[in-house]
Amino acid sequence: MVASDARSARVEELQFTLGEGPCLDALASGWPVLSADLDQVMTRWPIYAPAAYEYGVRAVFAFPLQIGALRVGGLDVYRDRPGSLTLSALDMALAFAEVALLSVLDGQSQASPGEPAAMIEDGLSARSELYQAQGMLTWKLGIDLGEAMIRLRAHAFAINRPLMELARDIVEGKLDLNTAAPGSPP
């Protein structure tokens, strides 16, 4: 994940922590998700929308990076006032999504076989602690990977911390899995 500023990064992280939001919807459907007024779509993303609103987001536009049926990512654009994107802004966002897709594919085409592109590597490294924490929890609780991720997300949201930070604490042994089983109330 890359973001143009710290606030966008936090809002973006939110979708990842919660597992819901416009970018994930755009990725799932393959269509842009255009929400000109976040206030009107609170029920669509019952946890994400109010939280993003708290950060000052009033409108959000998500564009999938896709080729054919394959989707490799998403591009999110935020506004701090309600309102649609102008036609030229929409054009520009679609063009940026296209450029982002091409640069990802270009990077990947130069990667060694079986390895992700170097440009993706940074993002993956950041995610690796999350997957490790997921694995630890799966093993500890005898649950499946999906449930482990849900519990991690729920716990991160409940204690109001970014998912990645929680994962790092688990991996570094700062959070005792016996006393604070993620998923239980803090």
Binding site: S109, A111, I120, L124, R127, M136, T138, V171
Partner: protein
């Protein structure tokens, strides 16, 4: 024997309809789909009994499509022949048009072969999307009569077909290459997450660090001659049922 087009169907080629059809051909599709569509359109628009479209890249044949022929024997002969040399692949790889009609010359064997299937002339046109760049294939037309000439390579109309087909094939190649890259990216990312999940399990089960967990994984992988990723997948799959990693201990 190849049959001439049904006499009930007007024989005049509707060039505009074919060019319109080509313009509407989507290149965001597998090579086979794009190739079949082009071959079919050209067959309908130019006076030939069969059309072959070969797609090549880096001296490899990626796709081979014959339209207009129901004779399996002809398709088999035509498919096998170019393994040595044949007008279609020669045109594709050299970038020069090849005409087989009158007896003699380099294509004498080939000419006799296709004659058995009722084909009296063959014209292969290279598909060159750019003037200087490599060719992406060839478009081959088959005629049931030796005369009149099906097409002349200097024919403006034919060149227009070939030019449009070249761009379509080049686009389809680019699209398919990009899809392949995206698939590789997806697989690489997925295999990475599985390895990290397995590392987490090993870290918990063995009470070790992430680096030690990875070292353990690679040792198991080398003693068992398995890929690291495959070991990771197996560990992840047995999570929830196994309570220890004992069965996995690397020898030594």
């Amino acid at each position: 024997m190849l049959q001439a087009p049904d006499p009930g169907v007007p024989g005049t080629p509707d060039v505009l309809a074919v060019l319109t059809g080509l313009a509407r051909t989507s290149t965001a599709a597998p090579l086979g789909t794009v190739g079949a569509e082009i071959a079919e359109l050209v067959l309908n628009g130019l006076p030939s009994v069969a059309v072959c479209l070969a797609v090549v890249h880096l001296r490899r044949v990626l796709h081979w499509e014959i339209a207009g022929v129901k004779s399996l024997a002809f398709v088999l002969d035509e498919r096998q022949y170019p393994r040595g040399f044949g007008p279609c692949l020669d045109a594709a790889f050299t970038g020069r048009a090849v005409i087989v009609g009158d007896g003699g010359g380099r294509y004498e064997d080939y000419r006799r072969l296709v004659k058995r299937h009722g084909v009296r002339q063959v014209v292969s046109l290279p598909l060159l999307p750019t003037l200087a760049g490599p060719g992406v294939g060839a478009l081959t037309l088959y005629g049931a009569d030796a005369q009149p000439r099906l097409v002349a390579p200097s024919d403006d109309l034919v060149n227009r077909f070939a030019a449009v087909a070249s761009v379509l094939v080049a686009d389809a190649l680019r699209y398919n290459a990009a899809v392949l890259t995206a698939q590789q990216l997806e697989q690489a990312m997925q295999s990475r997450s599985v390895i990290e999940q397995a590392k987490g399990m090993i870290m918990f089960a063995r009470g070790c660090s992430a680096d030690e967990a990875f070292e353990w994984l690679t040792r198991v992988s080398s003693t068992r001659s398995l890929k690291v990723r495959d070991v990771a997948v197996m560990i992840v799959q047995q999570a929830g049922t196994a309570q220890s990693l004992e069965g996995w201990s690397p020898r030594g």
